[in-house]
Each structure stands twice: as structure tokens, then as C-alpha cells.
Symmetry: C2
Subunit: 309 residues, 2 copies
């Protein structure tokens, strides 16, 4: 049990918490302790990014079994420290406990934002345009690739790995879009925003539900990285599958009123931020739809990552 | 993954986090989901109490296996809600995950206090008097009693339970000393304070280490409840064993400069707070000592509750 006091002057306070559990979110056959620490913190920072805030402090609670070594614990904290350093985040407390069932890492991040400026999930209105930052599906493909490499089977030997390495980087060391989120909130561009942690299918649904709206997404507009396109070609899958349902991209999904699109384009030029328009907000009654080539309606995947599947 | 924004104006922010893990902190053979929820929140509030603060918001992260029923989850949240209601605490977020290893409950509480007024663990100085609120050892005895009752063996049948019920109440529904902590900080009485979660032996050591001091505790001065004395008599144990090493009493341990004792006594009278002087702060070199009847030096238990024992 640990505690701390800190100061945030005349700002709104942002709080986010997230837990990673061994055997559910990660598996030490395909990742390191350093990676788990890094990603556990990244997932929280991503949520602060989606509100447009600045992360300031964090608390870490760990449960682990007696088998964990001090060196492994050090690596876990180093993974967090490496990311925390980039954002001048301060570790101010936490708790540890024995956990016979395996490791879990529960992080709470405290952030701040100018009063009344936090971007919410519920602000999308009919007619607003839907954008995402970066590229989608890389993390899910990266995890799949890591498992293939780990198995060392014939599929592994048939892959040309070098061009696929960015996928591994995206999966194991995701970069939370703090800078992008800050700009999108400070310039009052986003009417609603959410981070893509569970996958576009799931997270767009969350945003639509909280805003009481529907949406149409253009399949052809989904931003795909060259590495993902190449990977999908090699494993003979549709890259859109990864882009739709793959979790942990930690990109931002946002809606923008048409009148603010010029401001967004100015931001894109000035700050070299990558955003793609992928659809538009519709009334709730039209549901959430996916349009393929020539306007053909495609089945919209019901959800992304499922914890209890 | 969940997040929230909230406002705390011109106050210092207090943050505390605590995790309870099934099979380590609790066991559903001897407790209910309602009790686990209640105690998980109480443990955090106790830490806010020790800083002298007011709890305002909380976040709850749960890991649980597929065996958990919705009714059990409801009971867990109701246990928290019952305590949260008393302090007008608002649940503002949290996270859930599958956890094949069993239930864990990780809570973060956000509190506030007037700027610069948070009571720390490091403020004890040589000559300050050591006090505790309430009575000690009840919770540990309550847990032992619950296990005896659960076993239904001959020891159970030989006990007169009625007079021992307060011990069960203290163990399963501990009351965090928020009111006491507020008064002790607002009236600038405590120079250092910590809550008794691991037991007096452990927590006094924490306070002394952080303050760079030693301490002498008088065994005869430890406040014991009638129920604990009665229980110890029935099971033929020394009640001081429970008072020293028993965890989860969630009383406050504090040091008070001699010049502020009159103020403390005034508080005791006005607010009907129970405090007992149990010792005095000495230089670090004298270590932490326990004095028995006639000034005889007793072995000081090395520590209280051990997670990884």
C-alpha cells in the first residue's frame, strides 16, 4: 500500500487505469519483462492521449508469484521507466502483492488538462467526419508474427522477416499518441475521441454508443502500413481483417465537425501528424456499417479483442 | 481501460493504491464478496486517513476467472458502494480483465487536502510521543476466529462466541479512521502518521525508517479491546501477540510533539476520539524496543504480515 500527494494547479485532473494479466494479455514465451512494463504504461498513456491531456504521475501495482526474479522485476520497471522518461512522468506510488496465479501489472496514470478541455467519447454528432491517426492492424499482425517466429515452424521459414520488423516494434513498443491528442484537443479539432486499444470494430462501437450515433466506414480508406500489406500478402490474409479487429494499435479515433477540417489539415501540415479520414457519423438508426469497393455493404465485425472469449 | 476527469481546486492531491489478491489476502471459505469489496476500499481510505485527507474519487480494477457469477460481482461492488456512500466517494473509472489465477481487486483512491497539509511518515523527531487510535489486534484475532468457526472443530465448540463477535466485525468491516486523520492533520497535531495495515511491529518500523529515528514502546500501554482480551483468554494466547503483529486494524499510528499533547487531549474530549500513548521516539541508534512490566526489555517482533512468507 503506497500513497503520495501531488499538485495540479487550476487544471482538470485526468485519471486512467489499466491492467495487464499474464496468460491473457501477454505470454512470456513471446515477450520480455521489459516489453510488458513498457506496454502496460503505454496503454494508460494512450487513454490520456485520447482525452487530449498531459500525463504527469503514475502508480504501479504488481502481483507476482515467488518464481519471479529480482532481475525480471527490474526489467519490468525499466520498461516503464524508458517510456516514463520520454514524457517526464513521475512514479509516485504503488503496491505489490503475492499472486499465485501469475503476474499482473495494474497502472494508474494521473494527467492534467486545461479546465473544461478534456475530449470525451460522447461528442460525436451526425455529419462529423471520422478520422484515425497512424496505421491500423500493425500490432495484431505483430503479435501473430511473434508467435509464428516463436514456433519456428515451416511458416516461419517461408516468411521474409526483415520487411515485417516494424510490426513487431508496433506490437511490443507501441507509442501512445500524446502529442497528437494534445494538439487535437488544444486546437479544439476533435468533437469526440477514443484510443484504439481493443480494435477499430470495438472502439468505434464504444464511441458511437456513448455519442448516441451510427457510422459508416469506408474499407478502402483504412490506413495500412507497408509492413502490414506485405505481411498479409505473405500469410495470404486480408490486411483489413487486422485493421478492423486487431487490438493494441493505440492510435486515436476521432470525429471532426466539417467546419474544423481545415484546422485539422493545417495541424497535419504543421506538425507532420498522419491522419486519415475513414468515414462519417450517421444517425443511430443506421447502425455501424462498413462500405467496400463500389459502395457494397460488408459485414461489420461485431467486436475486437475479447477478454473472456 | 477506463478513464475520467475530475476537479480538485487549490488543494493538494492525494493518491493511494492497494490490491487484494485471492488466496493471499482473502479466501472465500471464510469471507464473502461483499466483505472483500468493502475491505479493499477500506484499506485505501485508511491510507488517505493517515495523510489527513478527504477521499473524493476511486477507480476499481478487477481481474477474475470465468467462474465468477454476476451476482458475486454485484456483491463485490455493493461492498465498495456501502463504504463509498458513507464518505460520498464517487466511482469514476476502472478496468476489468480475465485472470485465470483468481480474483484480484486493485483500487486507486484520489483524495485531497489543504495545500501543504498532508501528514507524512517522515516527520517524527526524538522526544515526540507515540500514539495509536482505537484498539489493536482485533482484526487478526477476528480472522483466526473466522477460520476456527469455519473448521467447526472441537476448539470452535469450546468457544463462547457471542462476546467475540466484535472481532469478526473488525476483521471483515474495518472502519477507516478518516475523521480522526482529518482532525489530527487540520489541528496540526500529528508530526508523522501511518495507518496500521501490516501490524504495529511492521508499520512502526516503516515510520521510524522514514523518519530516521528509533522508538520505545510500552507493552502495557497497548490498547486492547475487551473482545480481544476475552478471545486470548479462551484460546490461551497472549493478547499482545495479536496487538503487535496482527495486520489490518487500520488504526492510525502517529507521533506528537510534547507541546501539542494538550491540543490532542482537547480533540479527544471534543470529538470523542480514542487515542492511547504507547511510547516515545528515541534516536535511531537505540533501535526499536519494546518494554515489558518493570521496564524489562522484550524481544520486538521483527515484522507483521508477510506477503511472500
Amino acid at each position: 500500500l503506497s500513497s503520495a500527494s501531488c499538485r495540479l494547479d487550476s487544471k482538470d485532473l485526468l485519471l486512467t487505469t489499466d491492467v495487464l494479466v499474464e496468460g491473457v494479455y501477454f505470454d512470456f514465451r513471446t515477450c520480455t519483462f521489459h516489453q510488458v512494463g513498457f506496454k502496460a504504461l503505454a496503454a494508460n498513456l494512450s487513454d490520456i492521449a485520447a482525452m487530449g491531456g498531459v500525463p504527469r504521475y503514475f502508480l504501479v501495482t504488481l502481483g507476482f508469484s515467488g518464481k519471479l526474479t529480482v532481475a525480471q522485476l527490474d526489467q519490468l520497471y525499466e520498461g516503464m521507466a524508458d517510456l516514463a522518461h520520454d514524457y517526464k512522468l513521475k512514479l509516485i506510488g504503488g503496491d505489490i502483492s503475492a499472486a499465485p496465479g501469475g503476474l499482473f501489472v495494474c497502472i494508474t496514470v494521473v494527467g492534467e488538462i486545461e479546465k473544461g478541455r478534456a475530449v470525451v467519447r460522447s461528442g460525436a454528432k451526425v455529419g462529423h467526419l471520422i478520422f484515425v491517426t497512424g496505421t491500423l492492424g500493425d500490432s495484431a499482425a505483430g503479435l501473430e508474427l511473434a508467435k509464428i517466429i516463436d514456433r519456428s515452424d515451416h511458416l516461419h521459414r517461408s516468411l521474409a522477416i526483415t520487411s515485417l520488423l516494424p510490426l513487431l516494434q508496433r506490437h511490443f513498443y507501441p507509442i501512445p499518441r500524446i502529442h497528437e491528442g494534445r494538439q487535437l484537443s488544444a486546437r479544439r479539432i476533435a468533437s469526440a475521441m477514443i484510443d484504439l486499444s481493443d480494435g477499430l470494430a470495438s472502439d468505434l462501437r464504444h464511441l458511437c454508443e456513448e455519442s448516441g450515433v451510427g457510422a459508416v466506414v469506408e474499407a478502402a480508406a483504412l490506413p495500412l502500413s507497408p509492413a502490414l500489406v506485405e505481411y498479409a500478402r505473405q500469410v495470404r490474409r486480408d490486411p483489413l481483417d487486422y485493421a478492423f479487429t486487431g487490438g493494441e494499435d493505440f492510435e486515436l479515433l476521432l470525429t471532426v465537425p466539417e467546419g474544423r477540417v481545415a484546422r485539422l489539415m493545417q495541424l497535419v501540415r504543421q506538425e507532420r501528424i498522419k491522419v486519415s479520414q475513414i468515414g462519417r457519423v450517421f444517425p443511430r438508426a443506421s447502425g455501424i456499417r462498413l462500405k467496400g469497393a463500389g459502395g457494397r455493404r460488408l459485414p461489420f465485425p461485431r467486436r475486437g479483442y475479447e477478454h473472456f472469449a
